[in-house]
Symmetry: C2
Subunit: 137 residues, 2 copies
DNA sequence: GTACATGCAAATCCTTTGCTTTGCG
DNA sequence: CGCAAAGCAAAGGATTTGCATGTAC
């Protein structure tokens, strides 16, 4: 039963190995933005033999193929999420580290306009909002 | 002849040492977004004795004091620029690596509105546009 | 069968730290 | 002078890579 993501991999000409299937499943089930260490832990619950190097190699490969998105928020490590149908940006709660996803068609239109104004075509963007809870007074 | 930045440092209670003066001068003269390695090279043209550790410690300190801004674009390393009077975002030319700065009051207003809608107060943001030159046809 | 994927460990890259020496205030 | 800063080298953390072995197609 090849999942949607597995199909996508095949289309990209990727060999569907055991570790890759597990990593794909974990990614698609993760509602958050796990880093490699977290991915490893989750992946190893399915198959304890999977090594870090494989996870690194796999997410990198997936990123090149557009299957996952890589993020680098403030801290030093990379985080990953499945490339969903919808693009979205991130609001980061600086106190708790919680991440909220959002989209803004208006902002995106403005971005395109800015790129065009400088003679460029927008091919991607990254918008992170760093926030703290509003004090209710 | 204490420069504007040096005054700012004194206000923050920072001891004005030789290395710090040099690093400040290099930062204020840099129109680009140098990483630590580049900073080191530039700084050592003035004073070859300055060590990497000092550069790292200094930029980190400056960042905490709000004297410089730290950026992490796609690649693994941090880049720095003097905190100018005006905040700005970045348009990155994916082919050449060139970085263009821009601001958009409209986008920023929208960002604040989004944060508010989620119950947050916006304290900072990061917006990078990844672009390629527009083909003229 | 063959080219590509994996596991492991060593290697790399960027950044931080420990400790002694130096120097600003 | 006293305490913070600098230099150097060693430590650390994340990610990559070399190599022998395993495996999807």
């Amino acid at each position: 039963m090849a999942s949607r993501l597995e199909k996508k991999c095949k289309e990209c000409g990727l060999k569907m190995t055991g570790p890759r299937k597990v990593i794909l499943r974990v990614l698609s089930k993760s509602g958050d933005h796990p880093d490699v260490e977290q991915l490893c832990r989750r992946v190893r619950k399915c198959d304890p033999g999977i090594g870090v190097a494989t996870v690194y190699r796999t997410v990198r490969l997936f990123e090149e193929k557009g299957i996952v998105n890589k993020h680098t928020f403030g801290d030093g490590r990379a985080r990953f999420e499945e490339t969903g149908g919808e693009h979205h940006d991130h609001l980061i709660d600086l106190k708790s580290g919680k991440i909220i996803e959002f989209t803004s068609r208006e902002i995106e239109k403005l971005q395109e306009a800015i790129a065009r104004k400088h003679g460029y075509k927008l091919v991607g963007h990254k918008l992170d909002l760093y926030c703290v809870l509003r004090k209710k007074k």
